[in-house]
């Protein structure tokens, strides 16, 4: 008998669940405990969290959702024992816990009888050792404000995202502190898959910390874990704008598997199989990635006024105060001092800039550096310090002029320009060498006495030379300069080759003219020998003409020209030439007589050869 797949699956599940069914029926309350080992690790290491559930097996074991911690299940075990007919079970799941950042993470208690677990994650210093010095936590930038819109839960009620803002009207470039809150129900949210992000390009949001504040909150009688990020929001363009924050989550949902047909829904087996324990056991719940969004927050963003804008305005918007100081109360000509400008307050510190002092008579100034020290955890409030090395070049009473700083005050709705007082410094002449003792004094209302900088036995500064180069890379290794010697070499080589070829052409022409003249001379000699009947002279001249003509035509030296070469190159057409050369040898050695008819014939052969050789 073949059972339908659905019935077969149900039967199989029933058989597999029989022991657990007994346990399920007899189990009492389920207690959960967790233990993390070790409790202190370095960033980059992992700890092991063991969650043990005993008693009621219907409660599934799931890892807690803690931002900054990754949980990966690496082991699972279940023990069952029967004592006096009472069956009890203990299930354990071991998770590998990997932190994403340093700090102290608290894993909340999973049942009233258990204790929360604390995991300390320490930074690793440059030498590879763990740094135990815990940094003091900064206070939040913003603890109050209005929630933008109602707290709207996601469709399944598992999570919400909301914004807390201090105001809804701001200027372009102005930064305001903002709290982003993500609420999640324990057990329904499996994981937070990323940091909250904005939709739209009208605002910028400072980088969110990987370690938000964690609180508990009741909404509609249900407990939510609320994570709060403190950040800064900056509007980048004017107009009536809205903003939503979205967060990706993974939620656990009941699987959409249809229940058995035929009125089995309310059967005991059906109820038991719908229990979360069995849902988990047979995969009854499913995880789904969703994106939860906040209610839209509306803003009126105003453009910064162009009227009365100071020339030194760099975009700083907020409320600031400034002060300045020199690093040392004493100075010697040639010794560096550090001029510091402190800008304190609240606002967009990333736009707080100062060029400090430019060229000042009797002072040498260097490019300033900046350092920002926030006093809240969003970087909205704090102090930015600009440091500029300055060196007095002449002894006497020298004055460092005051420094101006301009910003826009959004509350007063106007530009402000602040000035530091000028600093008068009495500078002593550097006559005592490296061990000279500073004898000058700094007089200024804001100057704070700090430690003097030693001269360290160094030779004095040099007057700045106006001759500069745009790159420290030597010209040999810069392509644009390397092309100069390359081009020169190529040009010279080109001219040299042209000259050589020209010389060669001239030599060839001279050689050809000489050969022509010699051939003409030999022909004349041959004709005279024919007329005189001198066979020896005739054939010698004829042979010489043949050799010169053929060697010139074949680009061979005359001594390389052999009978075999002539036979191979000319074939049958060369028989007359070969015969002429043989007669020439014969005439030289035997002195045969020359007949008139013969001389005419051989003269024609030679003249024809010369004519053909010249044309070829």
């Amino acid at each position: 008998m073949i059972l339908p797949p659905r019935i077969a699956k149900s039967m199989l599940a029933t058989i597999a669940a029989m022991p657990l069914l007994v346990m399920h029926a007899s189990a009492a309350d389920r207690a959960m405990t967790e233990q993390i080992q070790p409790t202190e690790i370095a960033l980059g290491e992992s700890a092991r969290l063991t969650i043990t559930a005993s008693g009621d097996a219907s409660t599934p074991i799931a890892p807690p959702v803690i931002p900054g911690l990754d949980f990966v299940a690496i082991g699972q075990s279940t023990e069952m024992e029967t004592i006096n007919g009472r069956i009890s079970s203990t299930s354990s799941v071991v998770y590998q816990v990997t932190p994403q950042g340093v700090g102290i993470y608290t894993i909340p208690a999973m049942s009233p009888s258990s204790q929360p677990q604390v995991l300390r994650v320490l930074p690793v210093d440059r030498g590879g050792t763990v740094n135990n010095s815990a940094s003091a936590a900064l206070p939040p930038a913003f603890a109050h404000g209005t929630v933008s819109g109602p707290t709207s839960l996601s469709a399944d009620g598992a999570a919400f995202v909301r914004l807390r803002l201090p105001k809804h009207q701001l200027y372009v470039g102005e930064s305001i502190p903002v709290d982003i809150q993500v609420g999640m129900r324990e057990g329904l949210v499996a994981s937070l898959n990323g940091l909250p992000v904005m939709n739209g390009d009208a605002f910028t949001l400072n980088k969110l910390s990987a370690k938000p504040d964690r609180t508990e909150e009741q909404i509609g009688g249900r407990p939510f874990t609320v994570l709060t990020w403190h950040s800064e929001l900056v509007a980048v363009k004017p107009g009536s704008l809205s903003l939503r924050i979205e967060t990706p989550l993974t939620v656990r949902m009941q699987s959409a598997e249809p229940t058995p047909q035929g009125g089995d829904d309310d059967s005991a087996l059906g109820n038991m199989l719908n229990d979360p324990f069995f849902q988990d056991f047979f995969g009854g719940t499913a995880e789904k990635d969703v994106t939860v969004a906040s209610s839209p927050a509306t803003f009126t963003v105003l453009a910064l006024p162009t009227q009365d804008r100071p020339p030194g305005f760099n975009g700083a918007v907020g409320a600031f105060k400034i002060s300045s100081e020199l690093s040392a109360p004493t100075a010697i000509a040639g010794d560096p001092l550090t001029l510091r400008l402190h800008v304190t307050g609240a606002g967009n510190f990333d736009r707080v800039n100062s060029l400090m002092l430019g060229e000042v008579d009797n002072w040498k100034t260097y490019a300033p550096t900046a350092r920002f020290t926030p006093t809240d955890n969003a970087g909205f409030e704090g102090q930015k310090t600009f440091e500029q090395p300055v060196i007095a070049s002449q002894a006497g009473t020298q004055t460092l002029p005051g420094i101006a700083f301009s910003f826009f005050d959004p509350d007063a709705r106007r530009y402000e320009t602040l000035h530091t007082p000028s600093l008068r410094v009495a500078v002593a002449a550097a006559t005592g060498g490296p061990s000279a003792i500073a004898i000058a004094r700094v007089s200024a209302t804001t100057a704070a006495p700090l430690a003097a900088i030693p001269r360290a036995g160094l030779r004095a500064d040099q007057p700045v030379n106006a001759a500069t180069v745009s790159s420290l890379r030597p010209p040999y290794f810069q392509l644009r300069y390397l092309s100069i010697p390359s081009g020169l070499t190529l040009g010279i080589a080109g001219v040299w080759l042209w000259l050589r070829r020209r010389e060669q052409g001239r030599n060839d022409r001279d050689a050809r003219e000489l050969a022509t003249r010699t051939t003409a001379k030999l022909l004349s000699q041959m004709d005279r020998a024919a007329a005189a009947g001198d066979a020896q002279l005739f054939f010698i001249a004829a042979r010489s003409i043949v050799q010169r003509t053929l060697s010139a035509a074949w680009h061979l030296p005359p001594e390389k020209l052999t009978l075999e070469e002539i036979r191979l190159r000319l074939g049958a057409a060369g028989q007359e030439i070969l015969r002429l050369l043989a007669l020439a040898d014969e005439a030289v050695f035997s002195g045969c007589a020359l007949q008139t008819s013969d001389s005419q014939r051989w003269k024609q052969v030679v003249h024809r050869l010369v004519a053909e050789g010249t044309t070829s």
Partner: protein, 227 residues
């Protein structure tokens, strides 16, 4: 006759072009506030040294030395800072010391001029039968100038990969990862050569021959932009 006129014209054109462009290597540098000069680098290094930043001081002295290799102040202060920081004196080979008898820009221009002189002498020797000895001597002098520039380039080549440790101490590791095992520790101001680079890390070779990966932010190249 025509060839001689052509040759004279070509030599004069190359001479003018070569010297013009070569001198532009120095004089026509677009100098703004971003330009380098030996004195400003030296003064900056002095400021760093007095401010307790030996790494930056060594870096700027080395940079200044590129532009003025025979400047006694730079050499003395670099030596003093290295000595105060407990670093061994920088050993330079006999060849490198002598090949850097003038600045790279000067020797580069002399090298171009040498190529011109040697080339023009050889070309003239092909045309003129007279003054052959004088032309040969001029050609050899030109070759000597070009050789001096070539030696200078060879001596400067290793410095293209040199860098200075600019943090108090940094660990050179087996692999380009923060958690990799340290091989050795490098001190501020130490001169290393960069053999390779990965995102965030540089493979450096210390003076003692040990190699390891350090954080890219912990070292600064003597010649910026040669990575």
């Amino acid at each position: 006759m025509r060839a001689r006129i052509f040759l004279h014209g070509a030599i004069l054109a190359m001479l003018g072009l070569g010297t013009g462009i070569a001198s532009a290597a120095n004089t026509a540098e677009p100098f703004a506030s971003s330009g380098y000069s030996a004195s400003s680098l030296y003064d900056q290094a002095n400021s760093d040294a007095r401010g307790g930043k030996p790494g930056l001081a060594v870096l700027n002295y080395e940079r200044a030395r590129l532009l003025a290799p025979r400047d006694a102040d730079i050499v003395a202060n670099l030596s003093a800072v290295r000595n105060l920081s407990g670093l061994p004196p920088s050993g330079e080979s006999w060849f490198a010391r002598h090949a850097k008898f003038a600045t790279a820009n000067t020797l580069f221009r002399l090298g171009c001029l040498g190529i011109l002189i040697a080339g023009a002498s050889e070309l003239a020797r092909r045309i003129y039968s007279a003054h052959r000895l004088g032309l040969r001597i001029a050609g050899l002098a030109g070759l000597a100038l070009a050789l001096a520039a070539l030696c200078n380039a060879v001596a400067l080549w290793p410095e293209m990969s040199e860098a200075v440790v600019i943090v108090p101490t940094t660990a050179a590791r087996l692999a380009p990862a923060k958690l990799a095992e340290p091989v050795t520790s490098l001190r501020e101001g130490e001169l290393v050569s960069i053999d390779a680079e990965r995102p965030g890390f540089a493979l450096v070779r210390a003076a003692n021959g040990l190699t390891g990966w350090v954080s890219r932010d912990d070292v600064a190249r003597v010649v910026p932009g040669t990575g």
